[in-house]
Symmetry: C2
Subunit: 343 residues, 2 copies
């Protein structure tokens, strides 16, 4: 059993950059025993102690340091190298979710061998990827992909909540990880944003093929956004390679521009619904089943009003599955699925 | 000055796989002195002798062997390694457009050093790519991207023909290469299908930024297709990263399914026009200016009928720029550009 020390130096208060950390805290089967952030040492987060140094973390007996910070483009903040070296020197394994690979660093690799630590690059793609074979259209499983109006608004969380709801109802349900946090949580997967662009759909196909060996209902973690100025290619490759039967469209209530790109407006939800449906492969036309609204910044009354507004605008069921439970969204997906198996 | 020997073993008669070879033959400033294809030795193609072996090619005094075969997914046919070794042993440089890199092969690299030959992997991406900076929205140049209903139907050719037309009219026009053949032809560029998926748009932005240093009118070589089951991610990343003002939609007259994927139908041209316009970034709404029809399989009367039909279906100007000249399509693009600068 792993016991995580999450490295979140200077970032653990940041809702956007702490994506990996929060995902693992909430959904991993492996416990997090400490969070490292010297700017908040002595505090706790969800009951987990925040420590100021690797040395201070050791009394909580971690086995594995997790690089819990996702930066734009996935590069390493230079100061972090020292931190990772300290972890390795204390024989902690290190799991890294950035595009820059620890195992490509000869000095770190040598240090890891010397201290019996393992370096794991969660975003390192398999070496044998290729284009899709067409197997994605022949699976028995129902596939549901989360899509969204932006990055880092909860697509992975929505997939995880719907997977949990399905399993609680006794279904053979599988969460299919497509990014570093999902991989850290589930222990398998491919970070599709890190593959050679030509093999995006091929990587996504491989994930649903593998998922279908484990279950009948696959919740594929979405990536990026179809109108995101940086990451849209990943989104469309994932849409076509995973060949979903239905989408759940995720949106951060109240946001009207892409995070970090204020000159890029987010269109109306109804326009996004139509765009995703039209951009689906003609061989696998998929419909948006429902809207998953992230209302974390709102009070309860405003959250309910935002949900009602999204329903009225799109004509689709909407809800915040983290706040109000995943049952209504799950039912909406089932209805779409049922329609689809009859046609 | 380079003198090309194009390696097309067993492939030079194949219209799909010979893409690289035909592009270089038609548009490179560097002459092709021979084509290697033992199945057609003794023939000529466009006046170029086809030879059966590297030894037979040497009397034509080539300097550079070009791997002119683009395979699905870009892997090396195993038998080709011997062929490439023979070229290197004769001190020919080798330019390679596949995803598999020659310079990663220690034995070939050593052989190249020994024989004073250079190995150039045209698809090797720059090491310092990242996400877009937003500079793509701030360029003075007008940007036109070719898009299409499928791969390998002439998007690069259409961009090259329109660039030539623009330069003949005295404009500071630049062809912007985004794939291995374009790079072989123009001597610069990034093969966007070979970059890490997260950096697709960033790579495309870098290309238009570099292109804008050389001209006022950029013809960006398109890749893939928005509804291609394997390569759509590359297409959308290129669309958003190059931030075009207008598209030219390319289509192979008469085709109604994706080449090699018969279960994936091609929708109506009017639907593709609307999809590309809707999938444009809201910050840079782009319109389809015209339809470039590839009529190479048709007689002249059928070709003219196909052009008329495309015009009627879409309400846009259509033409085959290779067969009938690029003037009409160029005028259509100019009209869209003029409209755009007034608004």
């Amino acid at each position: 059993m792993k016991r995580y020390l999450i490295l979140a130096e200077g970032k653990s208060g940041d809702p956007h950059y702490g994506k990996t950390a929060r995902g693992v805290l909430r959904y991993s089967q492996h416990p997090t025993v400490a969070i490292l952030d010297s700017t908040r040492a002595g505090e706790t987060e969800d009951g987990i102690p925040v420590v100021g140094s690797v040395n201070d973390a050791l009394c909580f007996n971690p086995t594995t340091a997790l690089v819990g910070v996702a930066t734009q483009g996935g590069r390493f903040p230079p100061a972090w190298r020292d931190l990772i070296r300290s972890c390795v020197a204390k024989s902690l394994d290190v799991e890294n979710g950035l595009h820059q690979f620890l195992t490509d660093d000869p000095e770190l690799a040598e240090l890891a061998v010397r201290h019996g630590a393992e370096l794991r690059d969660l975003r390192r793609p398999p070496a044998d990827l290729d284009v899709p074979t067409g197997e994605n259209l022949e699976l028995d499983a129902q596939v549901v992909l989360t899509v969204g109006s932006d990055c880092a608004i909860g697509k992975m969380t929505v997939s995880l909540e719907l997977d949990r709801e399905a399993r609680e109802r006794g279904l053979r349900s599988v969460f299919v990880p497509t990014g570093q946090t999902g991989i850290a949580i589930a222990g398998w997967g491919i970070s599709v944003d890190a593959v050679v662009a030509d093999f995006l759909a091929g990587a996504a196909e491989r994930l649903v093929v593998e998922g279908a060996e484990e279950g009948d209902l696959l919740w594929v973690e979405g990536q990026g956004a179809l109108l995101h100025p940086a990451y849209s290619g990943v989104t469309l490759g994932l849409m076509h390679g995973s060949a979903p039967h239905a989408y759940v469209l995720c949106h951060l209530a109240g946001s009207n521009a892409i995070e970090g790109y204020p000159e890029h407006p987010i269109p109306a939800l109804s326009e996004l619904v139509e765009l995703h449906e039209r951009a689906s492969l003609p061989a696998r036309p998929a419909r948006v089943a429902c809207i998953a609204l992230n209302t974390r910044a709102l009070g309860e009354a405003e959250a309910r009003a935002a949900v009602a507004e999204a329903e009225e605008e799109t004509g689709l069921p909407a809800d915040d599955p983290v706040r109000f439970g995943a049952a209504r969204l799950f039912d909406a997906v089932l209805r779409i699925g049922a329609v689809r198996t009859e046609t």
